[in-house]
Structure formats: C-alpha cells, structure tokens
Amino acid sequence: MLRLKALYKDKTTRLWAIIIAALYYVLYLFSVGNLLFGRTSNGVDIVLQPTWQSIIFRQRVLFLWEPFGVLKISSVEVLLSLNMILGLALAFLIAVNFAAVIFLYRLPKQCRIDFEVKGIWAVLPSFLTGFACCVPTFLIPFASLLSGIAVYFIKIRPFLIPLAVGLLLWSIHYTIKKIPESYLK
C-alpha cells in the first residue's frame, strides 16, 4: 500500500497514469461498440431506453452488457452500459501498471534494478473481449486466413477478462515491489 501511495504522490507519474487510463478507456469503449463517431446529433443529450430497468443487467455475451441509454455529445455517441464500469476497473488497473513502470523508469539509473515493462502486455486480453458480435467480428476481415479459428476463439473468450484482470494484478504486484524502500517515505 505504501508503494501505491508513492506512485500516487508523484505528480508526473500520476499525470501519465491518468492519460494512459483515459486512452485505454476510450479504446475499450470503442472496442465493445459503445463509442460511435460521425453521428448527426447536435448538442448534448441523454436518452434512456423506456425499458432500461429490465435490460441494464442483461448480458449479450459474458462481460458484454446490453446498452440501456445513449449519451450524445455532438457527433459522438456513448452507449451507456455496465461495460462502462468494467472499463473503468480495467483502466484503473492499467493506470497503476503504467504508473509503476513510469515511476521506476524515472528513478536514478543506479536504482532501476531489473527494470522491465513486460507486465503491460497484460492489457491485450481485455481488448479481445470487446470485438465480439455474434462471432468475433475483429476476425471477419481475416476470415479467409483464419477459417475455423472462430470456433476455438469462442471457447476461450469467456476467460479473457479474468485472464486480463489476473495478469494486470500480477503485473502490479511484480512491478511495484521493485520500488526501493528508500522511495516509500
């Protein structure tokens, strides 16, 4: 916990972590189809589905919830769903990961013991969960190359979010323990 506090207290690290988390969040919402560009609406508006109470917890597939409303901001539409909360949780874990890496990188060279950034690859499985429709649509452009792979992808898909969360937590644990004790005060 002291190490996490050390990350939070460092202004530069905090700023970078927020930027990276925001970028990830936008990418995540786009990947699950909850961020739409080039719409024709004007101004800012929120539209809720009349039946929003009955669909808010309904999952289209595991970890992909039914949108229950739309937030319209000029030509951008954000579909409101519980994926916004899941995205925030993942963005937080990614922010902490990057914060730890940035913090370590900014230490004087002699303090960077075993400096590694492998942990940030843990973010990738979370993106794969988003590109799903009735088949993993991100595979569609590669259909001619990957015929039959969809069958296997569908089988592993439910485990991708737990995998991403597990890897991100492991990576945080692995990275922040490298912060020297002397920097915890």
């Binding site: 916990m1 189809g33 739409l36 719409r39 589905q49 039946t51 669909i55 999952q59 289209r60 597939v61 595991l62 039914e66 949108p67 229950f68 409303g69 739309v70 579909l79 799903a132 429709c133 009735c134 088949v135 993993p136 649509t137 595979l139 569609i140 452009p141 590669f142 259909a143 001619s144 190359l145 990957l146 015929s147 039959g148 969809a150 069958v151 992808f153 569908i154 089988k155 898909r157 439910p158 485990f159 979010i161 737990p162 969360v165 597990g166 937590l169 492991w170 644990h173 323990k177």
Partner: protein, 377 residues
C-alpha cells in the same frame, strides 16, 4: 504484504474464472460433443445411417452468444416511407414482404443485429428471419400447434447458418432447412412465404404506402453499421465479398465462389440452385426441380427473382416473353410477376408460390449437396 497480495490475486482469478466456467457450462451446446464435425470436403448425404437429425445436431456449433443474445424483435414498430426516407440511403438493402394487408419493408441494417422479427401478418404469427453469415432472408409461418408461437435466436449455428428455436417446445430449426431437428417438432416443416431482397431505391419507387420497420426495437444498436461488411460497396473487403468462412460446414463445393448468391429452390422432390443473373438476362426461365415444373420470373422493379410452380388447373404450362409481356404457351394468357393472370377471361387466377430464397452458394450446398445447379448458357 506479499502474501496478502498473492492471496487477493488468487481469490479474484478463481472467482472470475469460476464465473466464466459456470457461464460456459450453462451455455454449452445441447448436442453430443463426442460426435465431431465431419472433415470439410467430405460429402455427406443428409440422409445418413445415423439418422439425419442426429447428424445435423452433431454438427451444430456455438455462435458465441447465449439464447437470444442476438435479440429478436418481438414488438416491431413501423414507420411510414416518408419517415424512412431520412434514415435509409438509396442503395441500402431491404427485404420486402407482400401480403393481403399490405407491404412491409425490413431494412437489412436492422435485421443484421436482430436476425428475427416476430410479427402478425394477415392474422398469422409469422417470423421474418435473416442470417447475415449465409445471406438468406426467409419468411416463416409460426402456427405449429393450436397456440401460435414465436421464433428466437438459439445462439447456435449449423453450416454457418442461424439455428432458430421455437418458444413453445425449444425445437431447433436451422433457418435454411426450415425443419425441426429435435424435440417436439422434429421433422416438422415450417410453412414459408417469400421475402425479396432489393434496395431502398427500388422498393420506394415500387410501393406507395408500405410500412418500414422502425429503429425503435427495444434495443440500442449501431444501425448505421453492418458488422460483417458492406453490401453497398461490393469492392470493399468484407465477409460478404471474401471467400473465407467463419465456421466449418458439412459439405464443400468449389464450383462457385462461396459467397456467390444463388436462388435456392425447394421442390416437393428435389432442390435446385439457380443463378439470378441468368434469370435477369432471360427474364423468364422454365425449369424442372425434382418432378416439379417451375418458373423463375425476373421482377425488374425489385431486381429480384420470383419462383412459382408452373401448373394451372392441373396442367403444366410454360412461360415466354412475347413483346416484353409474360405469356403462357397453353392459353396465351398474359401474366404479371406476381404469378397472376392479367388478361381476360381469367384475371386474378394465380400460380402457387414455391419455397425459394436468395442464399450464398456455400450454405445452400452445405445443406443440399444433392442440389442441381442451373447457371444458364
């Protein structure tokens, strides 16, 4: 400190993985997993010694979504053509259903997200069904027993084709086959009605007072976008234009491009695949499917093919284009594309419609390897 972190990590991963596993087990296909998919390229007759339905069930795969994870539209709302004008572009694909009570138009960019619309037309419970992966739009009558039912999306695929289920008995109905393959309605055949593919431009020119399916579906989707590709732009690389398939199929044939659209025709004793471009060129094609005399007529107003049994009063007739008019050789009656006589004295007499629909070649062949292929000259 270290142990605490590791314990938290292990608990989170176990809980999440456990949840996933439960989800997975709950939604696993209701078929025998030990019967694998037959290797692609092996021709399998649908009438197999193991039993046709068992064979079909064993080839069903998960499409990656739970039951009704692709939600059918159960309370369709319609808008006027004038209102639809603002939402549809000229070359957007639409599906047309003609009935005694009027014409209904179903935009493809809505059905691609829902696959089934349950509606009441002419007092009958019907389903307008569309499978994006096989490019097939088919209308089904849902009166299976005394109480009419509705169809849902099972989340399963057979030969890449939508497997529907009925909400009365949970029987599986592969869309192209249109026959029950398990449970209460095994071997029952759903009655069909024609659903014609066309563009919004052609449909809006042909019909004045049609109703158009509204985007108020009860769900929020990006109805501007088709996740599989773009029919408006055939040169774009997408699922619709590439040779590749997403899922294994039971029977493979390389005579045509996988995604080539054919008109699949089901006769009483046989099936055929007809090239719509051939019909467009000839305007009318007389053929025999199984033992059924059949006529395929090109409807220029919709750029669609209409298929009928060419039998009138028990007699087989043949059709020809004479001075740009559709005429039969037996009585010299003039006919319209709706299969109706338009000349005296038998105005209104009509031909029987045959089950036919546009479908990608790979999917038609996968279900019907015995099919005749008619490409013309």
């Amino acid at each position: 400190m270290n142990n605490k972190w590791i314990t938290i990590l292990i608990i989170i991963v176990l809980v999440s993985a456990g949840g996933s596993a439960l989800y997975f087990v709950d939604r696993s296909p209701a078929v025998d997993e030990n019967i694998g998919i037959e290797p692609s390229g092996t021709e399998i007759s649908i009438v197999d010694e193991r039993g046709r339905n068992e064979l079909l069930l064993s080839n069903i795969l998960s499409g990656g979504v739970p039951k009704d994870g692709i939600p059918p539209i159960d309370k369709p709302q319609y808008i006027s053509m004038k209102e639809a004008e603002e939402l549809l572009r000229q070359n957007d694909r639409v599906f047309v259903v003609e009935s005694a009570e009027g014409v209904k138009i179903f935009p493809q960019n809505i059905l691609v997200w829902h696959e089934i619309v349950n509606d009441v037309i002419d007092g009958q419970n019907v389903s307008i069904t569309y499978c994006p992966l096989t490019g097939s739009a088919i209308g089904y009558n849902c009166h299976l027993s005394e109480t009419p039912t509705t169809l849902g999306v099972s989340g399963k695929l057979l030969n890449s084709n939508l497997v529907m289920y009925d909400r009365e008995s949970d029987t599986y109905w592969p869309q192209i086959l249109g026959e029950g393959i398990n449970n209460k309605f095994a071997d029952r055949v759903l009655e069909t009605f024609p659903v014609y593919w066309t563009t919004w431009e052609k449909a809006s020119q042909k019909y004045d007072n049609a109703l158009v399916l509204s985007r108020t579906t009860g769900y929020i989707r990006d109805y501007e976008k088709d996740p599989y590709g773009d029919y408006k732009n055939p040169s774009s690389r997408s699922y619709y234009s590439s040779e590749g398939l997403m899922f294994p199929i039971m029977n493979v044939n390389n005579e045509l491009n996988n995604k080539k659209v054919v008109v699949g025709i089901k006769g009483d004793d046989g099936v055929a695949a007809l090239d719509p471009l051939y019909v467009r060129k000839k305007k009318v094609v007389n053929l025999v499917v199984g033992f059924d005399p059949v006529v395929a007529i090109y409807d220029e107003t919709l750029d669609a093919v209409r298929v009928y049994k060419r039998v009138l009063n028990g007699e087989m007739i043949e059709f020809n284009m004479v001075n740009n008019k559709l005429v039969d050789n037996m009585h010299n009656y003039e006919w319209n594309v709706n299969g109706q006589v338009v000349s005296e004295p038998n105005i209104g007499q009509r031909l029987e419609t045959l089950t036919s629909f546009d479908v990608m070649w790979f999917a038609w062949y996968a279900f019907y390897p015995e099919t005749e292929l008619i490409m013309g000259d």
